[in-house]
């Protein structure tokens, strides 16, 4: 072991306790409304919003996946693909965000948009895909941090999972999105220098870039070749996988509303896109270094998924290892609090449709309860040490087949719910035909399948679903007035007294809204 379990556990516990305390203290004395809990509407300036975007993007996964890509999936072009995909998703929200705010000024979640725009069937599909992706992301984070602390310090998985689950739950369930954004800001201000200093220290400990380069060129020169085909192929499909999945990540939809203005939103998403790219590429280069040092095994002893930590164990001073442990804990906290709240918010925003006129107090209690359920489930899964890669890829494929039809509804009035869902399912079928991961299952239904390829699976899913959605919009016989979105989706605290003495919201009651929606859809048929 590189450091003792008690040192790593103590550092982890102190860090977690400090942030839980800060988050709870910040939330005390606030208004504490359900709107604050779920969207922190119009509250975040450029610095705060950029910080929460960076913190939410950068989970413990950056210590695993980019390095694995750099070591085993194609070197620098594979690592660059990871970085570009993550940056592109944030860049896309810089363009989409103002449109979403304009059309649905009082919105909360992507699922309520899916319901209002496309109806129940597409809503149920988007809800399932979005929650699956976010939960798998969360489970992967918990699995990653438990694995990391076990590797460098021999900490038991259940101890790490329990500590992180409990402390993050404490401030997220109490303070909701506002607490998450506030702690994210501090975490980002720590993560950025730790990353810069930690990575620079690690590079110097390895003998500098010249030494790493010489070793890599001597053993695996293809990893430093930007035109290396497996790397380019991986880089291309990971861009589609990451962009598709992130479009269905509720965390970004919440933060679109948390921005104090559309200008703040645009600037923050752009700056955070610029920030995540070098962070991921840097992490990926550690995989190249691990392969160059001959630390990576293929086959039965495959270990490229921990390439970053293999380099770390090689010859590093203890302070660098402790910096990385602290960094990993901060990374996982900042992402876990975001995802706890995001998953809870998706369901909470839909509760008014299920419960009979719930009060805002009931909704806040439900949001807290849901946060606890998500935290307990994530901690439990994280303690098991499952491999979640296959699930992650499946969730990514589902998202790749869904995001274009879903988002097209923000721009075209002609695409119907049936058209969007049909396009998504057709894209999914094409993706599954090429998808290597579920080959066994799919071949029991369709015995003859084309050659397996992640690139064809992800690009096929996205292109077919997007193309069919465009086609469906051309041939449809009805249209949806996009102006209705703003009326059908309103604040959850509407009717409650507002600060100015009036009442909040202008949305029709849910039942009335639902009926009006159906009637309007019929009237709009051409």
């Amino acid at each position: 072991m590189v450091v003792t379990a008690s040192a790593a556990l103590s550092l982890t516990a102190v860090t977690l306790a400090a942030f839980a305390g800060v988050g709870i203290r910040y939330s005390r004395g606030g208004e504490g409304s359900i709107e604050d809990f779920l969207t922190a509407r119009d509250s975040a300036g450029t610095g705060t919003l950029t910080a929460t975007l960076i913190a939410s993007s950068m989970g413990a996964w950056i210590l695993f996946s980019p390095a694995e890509a750099g070591a085993a999936f194609g070197g620098i072009s594979a690592a660059a693909g990871y970085g570009i995909g993550s940056a592109l998703a944030l860049f896309a929200f810089a363009l989409l965000g103002p449109r979403i705010r304009e059309l649905i000024p009082a919105g909360h979640s992507l699922t309520e948009y899916a319901l209002a725009r496309y109806g129940r069937a597409m809503y149920a599909y988007v809800l399932a895909v979005s929650v699956l992706y976010m939960f798998v992301f969360l489970a992967a984070e918990m699995t990653g941090i438990t694995g990391a602390l076990a590797l460098v310090a021999g900490v038991q998985a259940w101890q790490t999972a329990l500590l992180i689950g409990l402390f993050v739950l404490a401030y997220t369930a109490y303070g909701g999105l506002e607490a998450s954004i506030f702690t994210d800001t501090i975490q980002t201000l720590l993560i950025l220098p730790l990353l810069a200093v930690g990575f620079a220290g690690a590079l110097l400990a390895l003998g500098g870039t010249g030494e790493i380069y010489r070793t890599a060129v001597a053993t695996s020169p293809e990893l430093l070749n930007p035109a290396f085909l497996p790397g380019v192929e991986f880089g291309a499909y990971v861009v589609i996988a990451v962009v598709g999945a992130e479009m269905l990540n509720q965390a970004w939809w919440q933060r679109i509303y948390a921005a104090e203005s559309a200008r703040t939103l645009r600037r923050s998403f752009l700056v955070s896109a610029l920030a995540v790219l070098p962070m991921i590429v840097l992490a990926g280069l550690f995989g190249v270094a691990a392969a160059g040092l001959g630390l990576v095994n293929a086959g039965a002893n495959y270990n490229a998924d921990i390439a970053f930590f293999l380099v770390l164990q090689e010859a590093f001073p203890e302070w660098v290892v402790l910096v990385v442990v602290l960094l990993a804990v901060l990374l996982v906290m900042s992402t876990a609090d975001t995802l706890f709240n995001a998953i809870a918010s998706v369901v909470t925003a839909d509760l008014p449709r299920i419960l009979n006129d719930p009060s805002t107090g009931t909704l806040t209690a439900a949001a807290r309860l849901l946060t606890a359920v998500v935290a307990i489930a994530a901690a439990w899964v994280g303690a098991q040490g499952y491999s979640v890669l296959a699930l992650f890829l499946t969730a990514d494929l589902l998202a790749a087949a869904t995001f274009l039809p879903l988002l097209a509804g923000l721009y075209t009035e002609e695409l119907t719910g049936g058209g969007a869902l049909g396009s998504s399912l057709a894209g999914l079928l094409v993706g599954l035909a090429f998808f290597p991961t579920l080959r066994g299952v799919v071949s029991t239904v369709v015995p003859t399948l084309p050659t397996a390829s992640f690139l064809f699976a992800f690009s096929g899913a996205a292109l077919v679903s997007g193309g069919l959605a465009l086609l469906a919009a051309q041939v449809t016989g009805s249209r949806y007035d996009l102006g209705r979105l703003g009326h059908e989706i309103g604040r959850l605290d509407e009717g409650e007294p507002a600060a100015d003495g009036g009442t909040r919201g202008n949305r029709l009651p849910r039942e009335e809204s639902s009926g009006a929606e159906e009637a309007s859809r019929t009237e709009d048929s051409r």
Binding site: G47, T50, G210, I212, N225
Partner: protein, 41 residues
């Protein structure tokens, strides 16, 4: 078969240190932006 053409050592160093400097630059921007917000409040 075309022999693999790796990037040069200078490009590799520029990539690594450029990324570190960019991360440090974003940190500087963040400090400035967060402090500006605090002052405005």
């Amino acid at each position: 078969m075309i022999a693999p053409v790796a990037i040069g050592p200078g490009t590799f160093a520029a990539l690594v240190w450029g990324a570190i400097v960019l991360v440090a630059g974003v940190f500087g921007y963040e400090i400035y932006a967060v402090l500006s917000e605090s002052r405005m409040e």
